[in-house]
Point group: C2
Chain length 149, copies 2
């Protein structure tokens, strides 16, 4: 099982510790291709060694090869949104996890989109339950059209 | 000419006046389907009257019907990123415009992606020049694969 984890890098690193916890949990399930997203040393400027075209091409190869996509969507991110759009068109199973707060509001492109397995959470324990539910839905799908609602 | 303009709503409304200026300029070229993105009365909570599923479905119909997509990508936005991913897979011509600053860094998924006509600008006059260059490239394409670099 290859998992593409998507979280904000240049959009903002406020949630990097949560990304790290999620990645550690996902590694019990499969190989996380994008482990660097949870690296606390990686700042908003992103990967120092990579030029943008090379990063883009590498990420698209990983995304194409992934069996599932898990996105933490609380911090608004252009890159995460883009990856979700491409992943949807590649017909990948997609989990979007969001921590609600009074100051933020999740995009209708995510919450209103029934191609995504969308869940809200408030703690790492709840995040783990969302992940469990998502991967169980892949093993025991109720239907075949990737619609989870 | 139908134009889908993409700008942040729930990601943050800091740039709404710029969106409005861009939309006014685009209206000289064609019909802007998403005129509400430049509405200063529309806050971060988004459209009050729409439920997320209805907003999502309407926007996807607009995106499919668009002849071109123009995105202002300075404020990180999950929705704008998603629209870019879907628009790319629909093979729409896409202009991404970004205002560089010391505090921000544009996603490699946009800057490293040669499917997009990517331009940086610092003033509305420069933004208008980017728009002119993009639409001229559609009239006089140098090649047929939507690669502009």
């Amino acid at each position: 099982m290859k998992i593409y984890f998507a979280g904000a890098i240049r959009g903002g690193r406020n949630d990097v510790k949560i990304y790290k916890d999620i990645i550690i949990y996902l590694e019990n399930i499969g190989k996380v291709l994008t482990e660097h997203v949870g690296d606390e040393k990686l700042d908003i400027m992103g990967e120092k060694d990579g030029i943008d075209t090379a990063i883009y091409k590498r990420d698209m190869i990983w995304l194409q090869s992934a069996d599932a996509v898990v996105a933490e969507v609380t911090t608004p991110s252009l890159g995460v949104g883009y990856e979700l759009g491409i992943a949807e068109k590649l017909r990948k199973p997609i989990l979007c996890m969001y921590r609600p707060s009074e100051k933020t509001c999740i995009s209708a492109m995510v919450k209103g989109n029934n191609q995504f397995f969308y869940r809200e959470y408030h703690s790492i324990k709840e995040a783990q339950s969302c992940i469990d539910a998502f991967f169980l839905s892949l093993i025991y799908p109720k239907n075949t059209n990737h619609s989870y609602k």
